[in-house]
Symmetry: C2
Subunit: 283 residues, 2 copies
């Protein structure tokens, strides 16, 4: 059994700690999170532990990736609960900076990703990937890890972060870890806590529908027609607004050419009441 | 006497070289340049040598900081001459990547600085600081230096780079080095090579005029009136279009509050024929 996980809140002790680990010859892994940890996050920590002797989990609810009308204020926060969960899986430190440490007065530099960031989430959350790319770059330069692990649940985010790391020559490896699901297929998400019992009963339809899309496309079905049918199936199942159901190139996230043999991914985003759910599966 | 300076053109040997120096306990300095080196650049190398046992000079004419109508194609290039000059001052390696190494196919991430990047140069070269910030971030993450030295000649650029390093928590120190001038006061610049003999005779008026502005402002003169008179004096001296003569806060580059006691800087940009000159002095 391990003791309580140390929480670091300012940059200098963080850097001294990681420099000490590197001097000792340990690789360092980072798992960036916004807290409200669930089993999916704990799998990311286990994945990081396979690749690095020391693992840092960052907990920072990043205001710049929320639009003013989004759920920044009500996003679930539970540091004590998060620390207890992390102690159970073996995490060497939590990096939990205050907002004023992450974005001091006068902060004025943004990272703007294109490429994999275009379309899908960006059509509905135009501010999102700029906020994600900027805070991830900062988390990487603050912690200085050798590897960072992200969930495939946010598949386009994973692609954007990989592209940023490649484009900006950041000296670390980005690893994607498979989505962890409830027994009925619902992808684990901190936002599932928003769902009413009725919405919770509808939610697994998203995974069922996109899995059917993957099967059909693998079987040679027309992509556009399959996307349209899937959107109708989500509405039929009880979802509200359907932001997208889309089959995309798994690396570039762009619309695949009709003759493309590249690996594909099915991605979806739709609303249940005031809660927006996203999910994806490989073709 | 030192031997020829090794030129590194791909990322892996660059990183191995710098990692070896760091393992040996040497601090590493970087001097980012676009080549066409003059005595001003060599002073930056000397400044870097004071702070680091190993010095890398990067030579890369960065296309993304030139607008289509600007002088990217005719910008002076002379690698052999540059290497000879660098050998004379003691430089451990030149980092000179091809464009395809710096910006491979699919490159899609930009850094967009605000704050110190607003106004002045941005009013006339709106693409400029985005290109500078992105390539400097990449040079820093590619080389991994402990310190990078920039000339005060490009004063707003120095402020933007400092701000980016602070905002993105890049783990290096940015040092500004004093502008090196010809005997008649003209700031050394690779672009001085564009000047005709007639234009070259007019050019030193810029330093003379902004030095007078600094003297007057120090003596309590009205800032706006002094800026206007200086602009007229440059026209009188033979300059063409005057982009700006401006007194600004030396850190934020913003218009100083009337009661500000902050340190100030006089900055100017103006045209001589097809050549755009910039210069600045402290108040």
């Amino acid at each position: 059994m391990s003791g309580p996980v140390p929480v670091v809140r300012t940059l200098q002790p963080l850097r001294e700690m990681v420099a000490r680990w590197h001097r000792e010859g340990s690789a360092v892994g980072l798992v960036p999170t916004m807290g409200a940890l669930h089993r999916g996050h704990l799998e990311l920590v286990r994945e990081a532990r396979k690749r690095a002797a020391r693992v840092v989990v960052s907990i920072f609810v990043n205001p710049t990736q929320f639009a003013p009308n989004e759920d920044f204020d009500r996003y679930p926060r539970d540091e004590a609960g998060d620390l207890a969960k992390l102690a159970s899986v073996g995490c060497d430190a939590v990096w939990s900076p205050e907002r004023s440490v992450m974005y001091p007065d006068g902060f004025a530099t943004r990272i703007v990703p294109a490429g994999a960031a275009e379309g899908l989430e960006s059509d509905f959350r135009p501010h999102f990937f700029g906020g994600v790319a900027t805070v991830c770059c900062k988390l990487f330069t603050q912690v200085g890890p050798d590897v960072a692990v992200f969930g495939e649940k946010d598949f386009q985010q994973l692609a954007v972060v990989k592209q940023m790391v490649r484009d900006l020559n950041l000296p670390l490896e980005i690893v994607g870890a498979e989505t962890v699901r409830e027994a009925d297929g619902l992808a684990m998400s901190s936002r599932n806590a928003y769902l009413s019992p009725g919405e919770r009963a509808i939610a697994p339809a998203m995974h069922r529908v996109i899995t059917e899309v993957a099967d059909k496309v693998r079987g040679g079905a027309d992509i556009a027609a399959t996307e349209r049918a899937a959107s109708a199936a989500l509405t039929e199942a009880g979802f509200g607004k359907i932001d997208y159901v889309a089959v995309r190139d798994a690396i570039s996230l762009q619309v695949p050419a009709p003759t493309s043999r590249a690996s594909l991914r099915v991605l979806a985003a739709a609303w249940l009441g005031k809660t927006r759910l996203i999910d994806n599966v490989p073709v």
